[in-house]
Symmetry: C2
């Protein structure tokens, strides 16, 4: 991966550049942060001429390592106004890596949207129009692209929401078994839409595998890595239940967002739990499956295909955060309704977390009743239908809150809170407030430390969040999944060994940690210049005022205490 593809989206020209020595040391989230700080004016309009949409694989994206090949999508976020990286699985990442491309950088913007496809193969990189794709939903877009580019192409696209430049628009990447993997957070689909690009296609048919520094060592470290992952009981659990496995735990902890974050436990949690989903997948059969990888070769295999009673695919993969926000948060306890809501988000190309949070606020504002599943589906259909209400919801929870004059808006830095109410899992509140990403569980999810650190207490939360944020930044830069945590705990030296085998670099684990720190510092610098540093945002006021049943706790870590996160001592020992 020593090339960068730069596209002038106004003129429609494509240029391939060789990476500088410095750029070769960067990948994924790290590369995105560096390019943003170097090339994007921090105060620019996210959907304007000066923002850039950056697609970059991680440093290990072209290896056989389990989970490697995740793709980072980045740019200045339409939601937070700050640096944004959203990591996504699916097949595109590895194909891009196989083509030797470290990053695709989309620059400038055309005046209007005409659907165009960026096609990248070993032989050519070009941009061309496919006007018949205009306003196509995601599944139809993939179908058309598949027809034209064949079964082996790596596909990425936006739905109508991205074309409409709505702030909650996501990017979709296709994965195994018809999976739609979403780079959901931050509204980066709107940035791709602003560049006048509907889809990106990677054709790696004539590409050769990357030349590794030491292929033998890579096989060894890969074997060790997979073994550690497979030995961990959580991996087995994920294989069985996928991410919905945690729903019952979150309900028990009292952090499951219910009726616009007014409770942390949902009466019908069992009906939408991981166990219920796994059972339905088993009993309904047909297209339903579980234990799928999102990237070929992954040993964790947490993905699934959820099917309706007739065994027809509804949504793949169905995930915890989406179930929580579109289910409990809307007082909807029928998993088939939830699956359809999730599907509708995917089709319109909007982040299901933003959408669920936005509809929750709309329900509280009286637009529709809590529990009205058909009404919620109608709202999501309206996104693609370009109605005012559809546009409001598609703009995410912050804008929805503004338009409805709402005061109970579960967001930090303009971005919706994921499925972990920070009043009863306080460490994640530190992440929501201090992460350069805004409210984002993938930036450092304290659920993991709930066993070691009292989730209702204030002690140790800042330190835990720091540790988790660092790890996320590292993994997002290597192109690995957050679920490889067991390796961090049991064999942290593995990561240096991976980079050694791939590049010949001689890195200790402390050096690897420095990659994470560098990412966070770079993003924070961009955000400081953009006016969205962690100095200006707290959890929503209602979370400091309203106790959350059933734990009846409020959020009580002072803002000043949270702001210490970058000054506390590095945590001792392993991650």
């Amino acid at each position: 991966m020593n090339k960068m593809v730069r596209v002038d989206t106004r003129r429609g020209t494509v240029r391939v550049e060789r990476c500088s020595d410095q750029e070769l040391r960067w990948g994924g989230r790290n590369l995105i942060a560096k390019l943003l700080l170097r090339e994007v004016p921090p105060a620019c309009d996210p959907i304007g001429l000066y923002n850039k949409l950056i697609i970059s694989g991680g440093l290990l994206g072209d290896t056989i390592l389990a989970t490697a090949g995740r793709l980072s999508i980045g740019g200045k976020s339409p939601l937070t106004g700050g640096a944004k990286e959203s990591s996504v699985g699916g097949e595109a990442g590895r194909k891009m890596a196989r083509l030797g491309i470290k990053a695709v950088i989309l620059e400038d913007a055309p005046a209007d949207f005409t659907p165009r496809v960026l096609f990248i193969s070993k032989k050519e990189c070009r941009l061309f129009e496919m006007p018949d794709l205009g306003r196509f939903v995601v599944s139809e877009t993939f179908r058309k692209l598949r027809e034209r580019f064949g079964d082996e192409a790596g596909l990425m696209c936006i739905g109508p929401a991205g074309e409409m430049r709505l702030s909650a628009a996501s990017l979709a990447v296709q994965g195994e078994g018809g999976q739609v993997r979403l780079a959901g957070r931050g509204g980066l689909g709107a940035v791709l839409g602003a560049k006048g690009i509907k889809a990106v296609v990677f054709d790696d048919r004539e590409a050769k595998p990357a030349e590794l520094y030491d292929a033998k060592k890579m096989r060894e470290v890969s074997r060790d890595f997979s073994r550690i992952l497979l030995q961990d009981p959580k991996t087995e659990n994920r294989h069985k239940y996928g991410t919905p496995a945690v729903l019952s735990l979150c309900n028990e902890l009292g952090i499951l967002p219910t009726r616009n974050f007014s409770a942390g436990r949902f009466e019908r949690a069992e009906d939408i739990s991981g166990e219920t989903i796994a059972n339905l997948i088993k009993t309904r059969g047909g297209e339903a499956r579980r234990g799928l990888p999102c990237i070929r070769g992954c040993v964790i295999r947490c993905a699934n295909v959820f099917a309706d009673a007739q065994g027809r695919k509804t949504v793949a993969s169905i995930q915890y955060e989406n179930i929580a926000l579109l289910g409990a948060n809307l007082n909807i306890g029928d998993i088939d309704d939830v699956a359809e809501l999730n599907h509708l988000c995917n089709e319109a190309g909007i982040d299901a977390i933003e959408a669920g949070a936005a509809i929750g606020v709309a329900m509280e504002a009286g637009v529709l009743a809590f529990g009205d599943a058909e009404g919620a589906k109608d709202l999501l259909r309206q996104v693609g239908q370009d109605t005012p209400l559809g546009r409001i919801i598609g703009s995410g929870v912050y804008i929805t809150g503004k338009v409805f004059g709402a005061r109970r808006v579960p967001a930090v830095k303009g971005q919706a809170m994921p499925a972990y109410d920070p009043r009863a899992l306080k460490g994640i509140g530190v992440t929501y407030v201090t992460s350069p990403m805004g409210a984002d569980h993938t930036a450092g999810n304290a659920l993991e430390t709930a066993g070691a650190v009292d989730p209702l207490g204030t002690q140790g939360q800042v330190e835990a969040s720091r540790r988790l944020q660092l790890r996320a930044a590292i993994l997002d830069s290597l192109g690995l999944c957050l679920f490889v945590r067991p390796a961090f705990v049991k064999a942290p030296d593995l990561f240096g060994r991976m980079l050694q085998a791939r590049y010949g670099w001689d890195l200790t684990f402390e050096d690897v940690q420095r990659i994470g720190l560098d990412v966070l510092e770079t993003e924070r610098e961009f955000n400081a210049r953009a006016g969205v540093s962690e100095d200006f945002f707290d959890v929503p006021e209602f979370m400091r005022e309203e106790p959350l049943p059933p734990r009846n706790s409020v959020y009580d870590i002072p803002l000043k205490e949270m702001q210490r996160v970058w000054n506390v001592k590095p945590p001792k020992g392993v991650f």
Copy 2:
């Protein structure tokens, strides 16, 4: 004016405080800035529990000086997120001053909106419910209040938009001849709505005139002041044509916003000009009038009552900025249409500048056609009808732009640009970008310097803006109108003399200037802590890219150059 009324709007209690010695030195915009910095957490939700809505007359509000008695409304703005002061005429200000009240401070917030009235007289200050006022338009609210509180009460209220906490909601104050004077900018109507208060009533029947330090000197300085104002040719012009007088000039300069700021000259400018309006007022007769004061005793008398062909009042007073934004900016050239649009904004209680800019963006987005006056009226009616589209428009141009994925959004810091395109009047661009108020012509209008400083050039604009911003800050703190400029030019010592006669303070003109500096520094400090300092905002990107016909200039003062505004040498000589 030595009392402050504090209202706990959650508990419904009212407390009267005596001002400290320090507070006695502050008034109007100055007092608001100081209280915001002292009492309001900068990162708070503008419509949440911690923001305060502050009503304060200026230091000279209880004198007979011409224009004295303007009222400052302030708080953290729902649009800009920063300190906001909006100055308004009408009768309430002077009555509040006669009651000896320096400020009314509305704190905390009830959970829901039930229309309440804050009643303040010599004998009592209390809050009580008037549920039948709910969702009443402004004119109906005033009619009901008048019935109940009599002809002499000073009235202030919000329309449905404020109750709905929409970000572009204004506050209305009643003035002579049925005038509706608006504290329009910044969305402070939403803050009053968030406090659960529909109206504020000042009953000064048993109040006595203020005791002045030197009544004889006050009469002298008042006479000198009025003479200077009356001698100035602009005053005569304002008396005849009101603020619409400048429309023809702005059209000639090429700065009249036309079709969502895509041109600076409007083909039908003559049909909506000050001269046309003055003629219609004369020929139509009936309720139509011109040359009215907005506060009794004002010698400038720039207000008017505009009437339809049957002589029935449409809107009072009709002003340049509203005509420009609701007329040329929407490609509407029929003054009766424009007057009705203005009336509809006043009835809903939204800022006509925000509304005109928002509808312009909606027109460009294809929601309705440019020039569709009936469609525009329908949109404004929808604000009070609580439709999604009405709520979008009522949230102002920034939110409208986000919802419609627009890139040509005429706003700075989330607030709509008034009727002066900065591409051909570059000094006002400096004000839009660097004023703590965001895009606001009343914060420092470079139209005035267009004769002395080339409006298309970049030289001297920063210095001119600084000077104008200082003057605005001074006048907003004294409670005087911006139109008293001639006194600044011809007899700047008058202002020290005024304060001397009122309070016995011994102030040079340099001391008076320091009041202005103090205001701006205090507001900037609040904004810096709120994350909306002038470091993070520029004119919209399209204004740096698209030449503005007919002058075909782009905005080309670099952001860095504008940011020098607070470091340039104080301008020499008079203001």
